[in-house]
């Protein structure tokens, strides 16, 4: 296995958040009854013609600017010709030789904190096809063209990923970015964000790429991982058995965990691309470009740098907090509500993150909101509770036991004991029963002091201020 290098490229189809379709005034709303959102253009009636939606163009430009790509201010729509029931015109209007966005890159972060720059080849506008249902009718398939004409931005990477992990990291980062920019709602269950993964293998050191197979329409990160893992194993096994990899389009079966080549749709599909004569060249004016640039939100990379410098966070922490708009917003809300930035960061990346993962929730769904977390952190900073006790408070808030931090502290009597008199009393009690530990400490074992402090903490039900206890014990044993 170590002799094989995996080469992966991703093509992601993102449905854009326009109200109407890319070439018609039909609604793009999800879930309507079949064919109730399909007009003469979407149905490809004779004589129907496409008319361009400015919202799709603006979103494509926004994306291009966000990834530092070149915006082709003059791009061309082309027809991709093939026959399929959910493709009413018998061609898809897409972009071929001259797409609206070229180049650009997205930086991803891997587990170990290492970053990698994923270069993008291009991003182009095109229309989505309709949907077919195959299980609803006995001998027939049903075609629903509501989805036909929904605007897509197809985002293509260079084949620069080298593992399933990298592919997933990229997919997740892209997913965050398009939602961040508000150009795509990222709803994978509804098909707003679909990834095709191109996978090939080659012996390490070989320059030529191996033959690739394309795994289509993966709509969950979990499936993506499984599919790539299986595909890689399969390709390696094939080659090691002396067989050649045939270029193919492949589907992932979540039930079996296997990838399988589709019935050959058409041996090397000949799409007969040519510029669509119904659509003159798309020109993005300097004015539009300037307007969109001016309206860009602070991008994740800039935010990351700012989090680092403004709040003194490590690059790693800053990156994790700035990737996702909701997370970044949560963080800043918490800090602005009066809590220490570094502590907030620790709590978000620690307890909060663990709880969210455990229950498969997104931060927007957290029962503990930013202000609440801010209050919690503030109570640690002002000495009301210790870090350890705070975890108990957090759990209480998370499970909905109480609404406010102070309520939980009072109700459970968790207030930290900081009164020196009270603390001295407890210390004295413990010291009275700790002759062995005192002797060890006097003999030079520092650990014994920790043991005594531990006992004081336990005796106080965890509420004693640990720093103060430490001082008192040391003083008394000096």
């Amino acid at each position: 296995m170590a002799q094989w290098e995996v080469v992966i490229g991703l093509e992601t189809h993102t449905q854009l958040t326009t109200a109407s379709k890319i070439f018609s005034g039909s609604s793009t709303a999800f879930g309507a009854a079949p064919n109730t959102q399909a007009n003469v253009v979407d149905l490809a009636m004779p004589g129907a013609l496409p008319v361009m939606n400015i919202g799709a163009v603006e979103r494509a430009v926004k994306f291009g600017l966000a990834i530092g790509a070149k915006i082709n201010q003059r791009s061309i729509f082309a027809r991709k010709n093939y026959f399929y029931p959910d493709l009413p015109k018998g061609y898809q209007i897409s972009q071929f030789e001259t797409p609206i966005v070229v180049g650009g890159s997205i930086t991803i972060m891997l587990d170990d904190g290492v970053t990698k720059v994923v270069e993008l080849t291009r991003a182009h506008l095109e229309e989505d096809a309709g949907k077919s249902v195959h299980e609803q009718f006995d001998n027939e398939s049903g075609v629903d063209l509501n989805r036909a004409g929904t605007p897509l931005l197809e985002i293509v990477t260079e084949p620069v990923m080298r593992s399933a992990k990298e592919a997933i990291a990229y997919a997740k980062t892209l997913h965050n970015l398009v939602r961040y920019l508000d150009i795509c709602d990222g709803n994978m269950q509804e098909g707003s964000f679909r990834c095709d993964v191109n996978v090939s293998v080659r012996p390490f050191g070989q320059n030529e790429f191996g033959t690739r197979r394309e795994i289509k329409n993966l709509n969950s990160f979990k499936f993506m991982q499984q599919a790539i893992d299986f595909e890689v194993q399969w390709q390696i096994a094939e080659i090691e058995d002396g067989r050649k990899i045939q270029q193919a389009t492949v589907l992932f079966n979540p039930d079996t965990g296997e990838t399988k080549a589709m019935r050959s749709k058409e041996d090397a599909m000949d799409y007969r691309y040519f510029p669509d004569p119904d659509l003159p060249p798309l020109v993005v004016s300097d004015e539009m470009l300037a307007r969109i640039k001016a309206g860009m939100p602070e991008l994740p990379e800039a935010k990351c740098a700012r989090f680092s410098s403004q709040y003194g966070l490590s690059r790693y922490d800053a990156m994790l907090l700035s990737q996702d708009g909701a997370t970044a917003s949560y963080f800043e809300t918490a800090v602005n509500a009066g809590a220490d930035a570094k502590l907030v960061a620790n709590w978000m990346l620690g307890e909060l993150s663990a709880a969210l993962n455990r229950e498969d929730k997104r931060i927007e769904q957290s029962p503990v909101n930013a202000v609440r977390l801010s209050n919690l952190v503030a109570r640690i900073s002002d000495g009301t509770i210790s870090h350890k006790i705070a975890k108990t408070v957090f759990e209480a808030l998370w499970s909905g036991e109480a609404a406010s931090v102070d309520n939980v502290i009072d109700a459970k009597g968790l207030k930290q004991i900081s009164d020196s008199g009270a603390l001295e009393k407890i210390v004295d009690e413990v010291l009275a029963n700790s002759a062995a530990q005192i002797a060890d400490y006097k003999a030079g074992k520092e650990k014994a002091l920790m043991s005594i402090v531990g006992m004081v903490m336990k005796s106080s039900g965890g509420k004693a201020n640990p720093a103060q206890v430490n001082d008192i014990v040391r003083r008394k044993l000096a």
């Binding site: 326009t18 109200a19 109407s20 018609s24 005034g25 039909s26 609604s27 009854a33 079949p34 064919n35 109730t36 959102q37 399909a38 007009n39 003469v40 149905l43 009636m45 008319v51 361009m52 939606n53 400015i54 919202g55 799709a56 163009v57 729509f77 026959f83 029931p85 077919s132 249902v133 195959h134 609803q136 009718f137 001998n139 027939e140 398939s141 049903g142 075609v143 629903d144 063209l145 589907l251 589709m262 019935r263 000949d270 007969r272 510029p275 004569p277 659509l279 003159p280 060249p281 798309l282 020109v283």
Partner: protein
């Protein structure tokens, strides 16, 4: 440049038109002349010439992003060969 019968069968397949062997022969004969005509174009040196698709330099006009259509399913499905429950029906597609 002349087309073989395999060429014609391949193109007919791409175009989703059923052709019988007799059709192929007929088409082959008729297309010969046309392609001879078309081949005359090849002789012209067009290096550096920008292709033209629309006479007056048009640019794509942009429409506001607004929903302007309402549901007309019944009317639009009147010409459909086969529908059920709002779907257009076709022979079952096997992936």
């Amino acid at each position: 440049m002349s087309l073989s019968s395999q060429d014609i069968e391949r193109i007919a397949h791409l175009a989703r038109i059923r052709v019988t062997p007799a059709d192929v022969l007929d088409v082959q004969a008729k297309l010969e002349g046309i392609f001879k005509l078309i081949d005359e174009m090849q002789a012209v040196n067009t290096q550096g010439i920008e292709p033209m698709s629309h006479g007056l330099d048009m640019v794509l006009r942009l429409r506001d992003d607004a929903v302007t259509e309402t549901n007309h399913r019944e009317k639009y499905q009147k010409n459909a060969p086969q529908t059920a429950e709002g779907y257009f029906l076709v022979p079952k597609v096997i992936e």
